[in-house]
Symmetry: C2
Subunit: 452 residues, 2 copies
């Protein structure tokens, strides 16, 4: 196993469940200090909701070793010799190198954050937040810094979650975002709702702005983020501009990569064309079941599923990962954000024609206390009426409603079929027509209006 986080160690654990140490020797290489941790939890640790770093660690190296997994921490794999069925590794403490041969290889090298190639991007006070070490370094900087001005570069999941974290810590937060609206995983009209809500939280939103450099002070520390038009003073800068699949090793070994730079696998998570090499987690591309295309999605829940599937297959069982529908949820303070399926531009790119509808409804019966507004946007294919995607922005109770659409997408339901879904109804939990059903009804009408 190359990589000791979600995908790799899930695979190791599952394989071990199926095959004891007498049947299967498992060696796992991890170049970092931690195993099996929740990178998705880092913003909540930085923000103070999660007090202790160790709460984010699902399983320690010692716990893995107790399961008879030969886990080699701080050991980096530096090369894969596919023809020789062996990997070269280096102990990062001692510098010692060695070859280890394999019968079966699992690549779970994760993703690496995109670091802008800009002057000042490596200055003290500029932080990524992908690893626990990153999170600790940021917390150390926050503790050591008197100024309270933070700039977050990027307004995707990490960007908005870090904006919340820094607001919670009492910072003045500016988010500088390349896109026209935050959350480019939503259509711009839905991103606009996020934009407005973030401003309502006191976050300064700078959209449609390209960062040109990071300015440093006489002490060498970052002091501002510059765009073509302006400078935004910063005592600390957090970079949240996305990740790339970490496939340097795989590429060097000649393994097949997709358009997004991720490893390509079959449905059993086996690297295409390679009988004895599997890959999963943030380093692979996954099949989008709605568009029929490969995508790269770095998300712990997928990595865990991949690991489970890989471990079953490596352990002599059988399992597949059929693909994703592109579900994602997030929040900024009490604003909930969710999406699944295709955005308008995804649908266009996939060659689909569609209708879109947007409705406002509430999380509970309108008369019930704390009924919270939510906006639901739905895309349905022209003629067939097949559901293509749903986006939801609202308050409490908004985000997880996207699961209804995620299951419906997986089942290739039409919006007309969805209108009959028997969803949980009681006044504290839903209006008599759930907001997703209200959207489905409107989508049915839109599809009917355009029968051509």
């Amino acid at each position: 196993m190359i990589g000791g986080d979600a995908a790799g160690m899930s695979a190791a654990s599952q394989a071990r469940r199926l095959r004891g140490p007498d049947e299967l020797e498992i060696v796992a290489f991890e170049r970092g200090h931690f195993t099996s941790y929740s990178a998705c939890g880092i913003p909540y640790w930085v923000g103070g909701d999660v007090p202790e770093r160790n709460q984010l660690i699902a399983r320690t190296p010692e716990e893995h070793r107790e399961r008879a997994i030969d886990l080699r921490m701080r050991t980096e794999v530096t090369g894969i010799d596919v023809a020789g069925a062996r990997v070269r590794s280096r102990d990062l403490e001692s510098g010692a190198e060695e070859w280890t041969s394999y019968d079966k290889l699992v690549i779970a090298t994760g993703a690496r954050p995109i670091r802008p190639d800009l002057p000042g991007a490596d200055a003290p006070g500029v932080h990524g937040v992908q690893t626990l070490d990153d999170g600790q370094a940021l917390l150390d900087t926050l503790a050591a810094t008197e100024g309270r001005r933070a700039v977050v570069v990027g307004a995707g999941y990490i960007g908005v979650e870090m904006a919340e974290a820094l607001i919670n810590r009492g910072y003045e937060v500016t988010v500088v975002n390349r896109g026209k609206e935050p959350m480019s995983t939503l259509d711009p009209d839905m991103g606009r709702l996020v934009h407005t809500a973030m401003e309502g939280l006191g976050i300064i939103m700078v959209n449609d702005a390209e960062v040109t450099k990071l300015l440093t002070g006489e002490d060498g520390r970052v002091r501002a983020v510059a765009t073509e038009d302006a400078e935004y003073p910063a005592d600390v800068v957090v970079l949240g501009i996305g990740v790339h699949p970490e496939t340097t090793l795989a590429k060097a070994a000649g393994l097949p990569l997709g358009d997004h730079g991720g490893l390509l696998t079959d449905l059993a998570m086996r690297v295409r064309g390679h009988e004895n090499i599997w890959a999963g987690g943030d380093c692979v591309e996954v099949l989008d079941l709605v568009s029929g295309r490969e995508r790269h999605i770095a998300l712990g829940t997928h990595a865990n599923k991949h690991g489970q599937v890989i471990g079953s297959n490596v352990g002599g069982g059988y399992a597949t990962f059929p693909g994703v529908v592109g579900t994602a949820v997030s929040k900024v303070c009490d604003l909930e954000i969710a999406r699944t399926g295709l955005r308008e531009k995804d649908a266009h790119r996939a060659g689909l024609q569609f209708e879109t509808v947007t409705v406002e409804s509430t999380s509970r019966a309108g008369y019930y206390p704390n009924a919270a507004l939510m906006t639901v946007k739905m895309l349905a294919e022209r003629r067939t009426g097949r559901l293509l995607g749903v986006q939801i922005v609202g308050r409490e109770g908004a985000a997880k409603r996207v699961d209804i659409a995620a299951v419906a997408l997986t089942a290739s339901m039409t919006v007309e079929q969805m209108t009959a879904l028997d969803l949980g109804y009681a006044p504290p939990f839903s209006p008599v027509w759930d907001p997703v059903l209200v959207a489905a009804r409107k989508a049915v009408a839109a599809v009917r209006r355009n029968p051509a």
Copy 2:
């Protein structure tokens, strides 16, 4: 339209949307004082969460009349002459009777609460809670009564919701329940969790107890509820022992009724064997898509869907109601209760063999603040692994997760397919494996262990 509540008036409104007053004359008879109100909201009005009765009314008689619906309030239909295509009605104020002929008839007569045939059941201080008038009468009694002891008879949805309402009003609440555990819509092992939680709320739970009579004082008012074994002092008694389809008129007219006493319809909600009569809402039986049998479920969300379908068909369009999977959600204070699909006894009755699994998980990532415990029980068919049912008991975030299973049931998914569902994941919203997926994984293992 016979009946002016959810099903009847949804049908009327939808038919009017499709056909203007020049094309379609709509006459609706309602024997009560209100139209289109949320009976499901009555417990929250009684409990004080909803301050005003009128908040429960979605549309007043005047609003319906503005849509050119000839709505005759306080007018009871006393007979249906199928051969003559006419109904007899009586004005409850004047006593005047008349015949009205129809081209198309919609029966939406709702349900009537089961009143126990017991001494004292009609005494002052004994209340049902099915209609707005019932709710007002109960509130009047509560206002006029000094004692603070309430007994709720029945521990289904209405029973537990009324227990909450009376707790919220500061009453000492005893629930007397015929079943071994409350919430007989759950399996007893899950009902047991509700039982324990209700006791934790200070509610006295008396299970496995048949009420034999209601004792009255010298003033004729109720003073206690008696079972074979004991007497429970009561200043007020609420009856929540379920409802029957109100099909007296339909039966007298010779229309087809099912085993549960509800009208039988086709998928377009047309009464079987009758080209020009439709029926919907609490007076009909619905097809359970999992067991393949008819059931009676009195629930506003179904009534609204029926009305929508009937209105489309009566208005010259086309729509169907394919059936239900048996989803229901409720709560007692902060305890959330949900179910969908078949219980163990339903599955046995349907001739199905199955595996059951029960898991404990949390609403959010375990390390995230306010992660609430929930118990998820899942039934999967032997050999096929098809999902048969899910029950969930837990705290915040538990109930609406049942929607995932409701959609999966509708799509006839197997538990193995469910393990790959792309559900919304972020630490504030779910563990990396959603509780429903944890249950599905365990169900897969159970099905695999018994391949015979």
